[in-house]
Amino acid sequence: MPYILDCEITSHQEVAPGHYRLVAHAPEIAAAAAAGQFCMLEVQEGFYPFLRRPMCFERIYPDSVSILYKIEGEGTRLLSRFTAGQSINIQGPLGKPFPLNGAYQRHIMVAGGIGIAPFPALAEAIIAQLGKTPEVIIAARNEDLLLCEDIFQQMGCKIHLATDDGSVGKKAFASEVLDALEPSKDSIVYCCGPMPMMKATHAVCQQRKIPCLASLEAEMACGDGVCLGCVVEANVEIEAERMVRVCCDGPVFDSTTIHWESY
């Protein structure tokens, strides 16, 4: 059950150019949340902007949650203005979490850019609940924008870096890095990032016949499955059921359910 609460911001910092981490005291939400779920934030009072902004949980602590975000437009710019001590209205948790399956030995997270956001929480859950240590591929435009490396290091995750400009790690696409890791049938892949990157990751997994869970984004109005605004096309035979809602049927989908040809 989602909550809507005014939560005190306990810390808020720029972690990379244009990227911020916000931690809010939100015991009820934290208790109910699981990795892969998200929340909807009111970034300013009144009608500007009109809608809340969706952000997934980067980490879920006993009494608080953190989000990691990138300034994209007006809403995130206004969000970045909040200071520790102020309160922010949070609705959540929303959506379906990453399913956790202990049958797999190798858990590989593939992140493109700000798509890294849900993975610290996921890594933690995999470690705590499955007793496995996941690997992570972090792809970004350049070195400055590689996020969360320290977190995964502390968790003991194997880290594979890739940058568009080759400033650090491989100069390669995340999906290529994944392929090079030669995941086989004991592996499961989780990915989050731009659509083309997830599409390519899905393709690698298909070829290697391994499962891939993709965390999607879409413009959202309600976040609750009501408005039908956030749909993506799925591989469903029945025409009328082809549109699935990212907010409540996802945001995490088995990548085979998505009709990637549309993207």
Binding site: I4, A221, D224, V226, V231, R242
Partner: protein, 310 residues
């Protein structure tokens, strides 16, 4: 002081004058985790069609100043799934139901109304004659909505009227010159009430891509941005017809809702503001009660059309 918020909208008794905008509350259950939805005067369903519909391709929505454009294209589960999966929940939870319907012909509307009545799955029918999102904007021009043509309004309303004894509300479009014409046409054809307004037609373009943001190009504008327009149209319609009006368009709080009631609406619907604040409709109920208490208004019906002019 005990305040009486009950209203009778063309035969539909609502315990308070507050319902929700079709398409902004799904089938009721979804928002029950935020508040007891049976406390609303009525729950209005998403538009139901005979067959389930996939709706338009994404992107389907874009935020605008104090509002949003949507081009959902009437994605819905279809009447059968509604009767099987949705209506029972609403009934079990003692919700008063306004069943909103959308068809491609008078006959389809009539059939939908008949089914809802036969299965006891609605307490009133709201016929959406004004959905802006089911046409191809590239080719559509002029009177593409039934609600834009008084003669069509009359023809459709008569067909639905003949099919059901339930209170029948006709949902009109703001995209007209004189709302009184379509309002009078619906009244003449036997409608028990009017719902207005549906969304205004609008476009958003992304200069970076030079493309329309919505896959359908044109969408329907809703939210506080359009509230002054909606209040004006309710006022116009209320002066033209005798049947009651459910007013909507940008209502966020009791103050907004009271503007509609003072302009002549008997009930109101909270639409897309619910996306921002899921219990907004309940706020409106509570705020209306407060208002009445503060102003010594014993029954909300005393406020209908009570705007005072110099």
């Amino acid at each position: 002081m005990s305040i009486n918020l009950e209203v009778n909208v063309g035969g539909l008794v609502m315990k308070n004058p507050v319902t929700v905008g079709s398409g902004t509350f799904a089938y009721g259950q979804e928002y029950n985790s935020y508040f007891d939805v049976s406390r609303l005067g009525a729950v209005t369903t998403k538009s139901l069609s005979l067959k389930p519909r996939a709706g338009n391709k994404p992107p389907r929505l874009v935020e605008t100043p104090a509002g949003m454009l949507n081009a959902i294209g009437l994605q819905n589960v279809g009447i059968e799934a509604y009767l099987r999966d949705k209506a029972p929940w609403l009934r079990e939870h003692n919700c008063t139901i306004i069943g909103n319907i959308y068809g491609y012909s008078p006959e389809e509307y009539a059939e939908l109304a008949r089914r809802l009545e036969a299965e006891g799955a609605a307490d009133a029918i709201e016929a959406n004659l004004s959905c802006p999102n089911v046409h191809d904007a590239r080719t559509a021009r002029g009177c593409t909505l039934v609600a834009q043509d008084p003669e069509q309004v009359q023809r459709y309303t008569e067909a639905i009227r003949a099919a059901t004894k339930l209170p029948l509300f006709i949902k009109l479009s703001p995209n007209v010159i004189d709302i009184a014409e379509s309002a009078l046409a619906a009244e003449a054809a036997g409608a028990d009430g009017l719902s207005l307004i549906n969304t205004l037609l609008g476009i958003g373009i992304n200069p970076e891509t030079r493309r329309p943001i919505l896959s359908n190009i044109v969408g329907g504008l809703s939210g506080p941005a359009i509230r002054p327009v909606a209040v004006k149209l309710v006022w116009d319609a209320a002066r033209a017809v005798k049947i009651p009006i459910i007013g909507m368009g940008g209502i966020c709080n009791a103050n907004d809702a009271l503007q509609f009631i003072l302009a002549g609406a008997t009930a109101v619907a909270v639409g897309c503001y619910t996306f921002r604040k899921p219990d907004a409709a309940m706020d409106v109920v509570n705020g209306m009660e407060d208002y009445c208490r503060r102003h010594g208004v014993e029954k909300i019906t005393d406020l209908i059309g009570a705007m005072e002019m110099q």
